[in-house]
């Protein structure tokens, strides 16, 4: 990257810590600080967010002074697919029901692997897993998950 950032890992950690610290500090202004003997709701968060910003600044400084290892490749594909299929499962669960959302989760996430391909063995395994989940979690443990969700009129 640029020549300013010498150690990207330290630099970005610093940005992250400082950013979170600053947001937490900003939000905590609305909570009463109180005094040391009668700590308000804002006392502990304010102190902590101050500390986090401090560590953030230290990491930032190190990021621009000391040379460090490069960031390395970011696995965009698996990261996005895993996150998206998890979110999709959450969205679909009450709407389309367990069976459909599991199909989406299993085949969606599996496509994140470089070894993914449709084959009868893997498909059978997936169907077995769905059957297992239906039997154990809905029939056995009685979790309130619909088999078929509101979209199918359940």
């Amino acid at each position: 990257m640029s020549s300013v950032i010498k150690s990207p890992k330290d630099f970005w950690t610093g940005v992250l810590y400082f950013g979170f610290g600053a947001i937490a500090f900003w939000v905590a202004r609305d909570y009463s600080f109180g005094t040391a003997s009668r700590m308000g709701a804002g006392y502990f968060p304010t102190v902590l967010s101050g500390l986090l910003m401090f560590f953030g600044v230290l990491a930032l400084l190190r990021g621009v002074t000391k040379h460090g290892a490069p960031f390395g490749a970011f696995a965009w594909k698996p990261a996005l697919i895993i996150t998206a299929s998890t979110l999709a499962f959450g969205l679909l669960l009450t709407r389309a029901g367990l069976i459909v959302s599991l199909l989406v989760l299993i085949f969606g996430s599996a496509s994140a692997s470089s070894k993914f391909r449709f084959e009868w063995r893997a498909t059978l395994l997936a169907l077995g897993l769905i059957a297992f989940c239906v039997l154990v979690f809905i029939k056995g443990l009685g979790l309130p998950m619909p088999l078929l969700g509101s979209w199918f009129g359940e």
Binding site: A28, F44, P45, L143
Partner: protein
């Protein structure tokens, strides 16, 4: 004193020996071993995944099962270390050095048997140690005021940094980050909903299972997918599981030393299985007559770290059970499980729930015995599981994570949060920010605030109370010493070396 210990252990054996508890102990150790053997699934993610299932069980049974998963995973981790030179757990990294060498020479059976017996011996000794040391420790802890508790937690958090990868500053930042995350939710004193951003789901705070599953479960899956590898089994069939007289002679002293070292290091906050196994291997290499053979398949090089890591893993229950302080993420999850079961972790557990306390202690011994009896004959099954392809496994892990998280509060909101924490977990790994200290901070955060509040209320706002009370001061000094030692250049280099082997 002595008589009461036997009475206590007897109570424990009765509790742990009931049919239902034996059953859950067995389920725990079997699941644990499977997890240790299967690729890319750590004990933290698994315990988080299975926690929701244990909510319906009686508290003793659920803790017995979770503990079984923990030391079972330790055991399974050594199996993969020996058979395919891929340590399933960070604590079995050193076992791979000599254990895999033995396997290459066709002595895989011997290495596995050594690991099993060494672990069993260490487990037995540590069970007795827990029984001996917990009551006096809890008695001391009962005298603790809020100031002492606060300082103890500071010490625990600082110590967790020692074992974290990467730079010290990153780890300290992660602790503070975790503490802040722990604050989300309603403040008990004022009733103010903090950091809830007007989302009703956040008023009760973020469930630690959501954080643990996201960061350790999903985060690890993404990480593993980046470096997908095939596992190849060199040893298809394991034979020769018997140890002869000479073997027992060779491993007796290393096992004793390993057990001793492991139990001492395990008690320390931040210590535990991994540190113990490294230390034991290093020690054995120095003192053993056979040290020239280390790294070339020395049986002592398997026995010492295996006994040490099991001793360390079990000894880490001591601070958790007596003080309510977790020394590693697994213990943090155990504490979370206790809180959900309505038990306030701390020194009073032993007095108020003797059956639970001693039942758990006794179950560890029973569980270790089960591991030896079951796993050596079942080795064929574990060998098969070693080579399960990861691309068939991880969608199933994801399914169990999602359903588990949903079942916490029957809301999809937690699933969304888990997804976000998964992404964050992966990012942290890329930035070399270890998530373990964050989880400890997250669990301890609300407790620390409460204790600090009470300590300062009692002292009328004078922060000096933390250093004028002797026990509290001692702990803060220890925390400072830990920090200084970690920063010393010599140790720093050593620490980095240790972690290089890990990567």
């Amino acid at each position: 004193m002595d008589a009461s210990i036997f009475a206590n252990l007897w109570l424990g054996l009765q509790t742990a020996g009931s049919f239902i508890n034996l059953f859950y102990c067995l389920v725990g150790v079997m699941l644990g071993t499977a997890i240790g053997v299967l690729p890319g699934l750590g004990p933290v993610a698994t315990i988080a995944m299975l926690l929701p299932i244990t909510f319906g069980l009686p508290p003793v049974s659920s803790l017995i099962m979770l503990a079984g998963i923990f030391y079972g995973a330790q055991y399974g981790g050594s199996t993969t270390a020996i058979l395919i030179n891929l340590p399933g757990e960070s604590s079995s990294i050193v076992t791979a050095l000599d254990g895999h060498e033995m396997a290459k020479q066709g002595r895989a059976g011997k290495a596995l048997a050594t690991a099993a017996w060494a672990s069993f011996f260490a487990g037995t000794v540590t069970t007795i140690l827990i029984a001996l040391f917990s009551p006096p420790l809890a008695e001391v802890a009962l005298k603790f005021g809020p100031a002492e508790y606060f300082s103890l937690m500071v010490l625990g958090l600082v110590a967790s940094v020692v074992l974290a990868h990467g730079s010290l500053m990153h780890a300290l930042g992660m602790i503070v980050f975790g503490l802040l995350l722990g604050i989300v939710g309603t403040d008990v004193n004022s009733g103010v909903a903090r950091y809830s951003f007007d989302m009703p789901e956040l008023i009760d705070g973020i469930n630690f299972v959501v954080v643990a599953m996201g960061v350790f479960g999903l985060g690890e899956i993404i990480s593993n997918l980046q470096h997908e590898t095939e596992r190849s089994l060199m040893v298809k069939k394991v034979t020769g599981l018997m140890l002869d007289k000479d073997d027992f002679k060779a491993i007796a002293a290393p096992v004793l030393r390993g057990t001793l070292l492991g139990s001492i290091l395990g008690i320390l906050p931040g210590g535990g299985a991994m540190l113990s196994s490294f230390a034991a291997y290093a020690l054995e290499k120095k003192v053993s007559k056979n040290s020239a053979n280390f790294g070339k398949g020395a049986i002592e090089g398997v026995a010492a770290p295996e006994s040490a890591n099991n001793a360390g893993a079990q000894a880490s229950f001591i601070p958790m059970l007596t003080l309510g302080i977790p020394s590693n993420p697994v213990m943090a999850l155990m504490i979370g499980a206790m809180i959900i079961q309505g038990i306030q972790p701390g020194p009073s557990v032993m007095v108020e729930q003797p059956a639970l306390f001693w039942g758990l202690v006794a179950s560890m011994w029973i569980g270790n015995a089960m591991l030896v009896i079951l796993n050596l004959p079942l080795i064929g099954l574990w060998v098969k599981m070693v080579s399960v392809p990861y691309h068939l496994l991880f969608p199933a892990i994801l399914v169990f994570c999602c359903i588990g998280v949903f079942s916490l509060a029957n809301t999809s909101f937690d699933i969304y949060f888990m997804a976000i924490f998964g992404l964050a977990g992966y990012l942290f790994r890329k930035l070399e920010c270890e998530p373990a200290p964050m989880l400890l901070g997250f669990i301890l955060g609300p407790m620390m605030e409460e204790f600090l509040r009470r300590a300062l209320l009692l002292s009328k706002g004078n922060p000096m109370v933390l250093v004028t009370r002797p026990i509290s001061a001692t702990m803060l000094v220890m925390a400072a010493l830990v920090m200084i030692t970690v920063m010393l250049p010599a140790l720093r280099k050593k620490r980095e070396e240790v972690f290089v082997e890990d990567d």
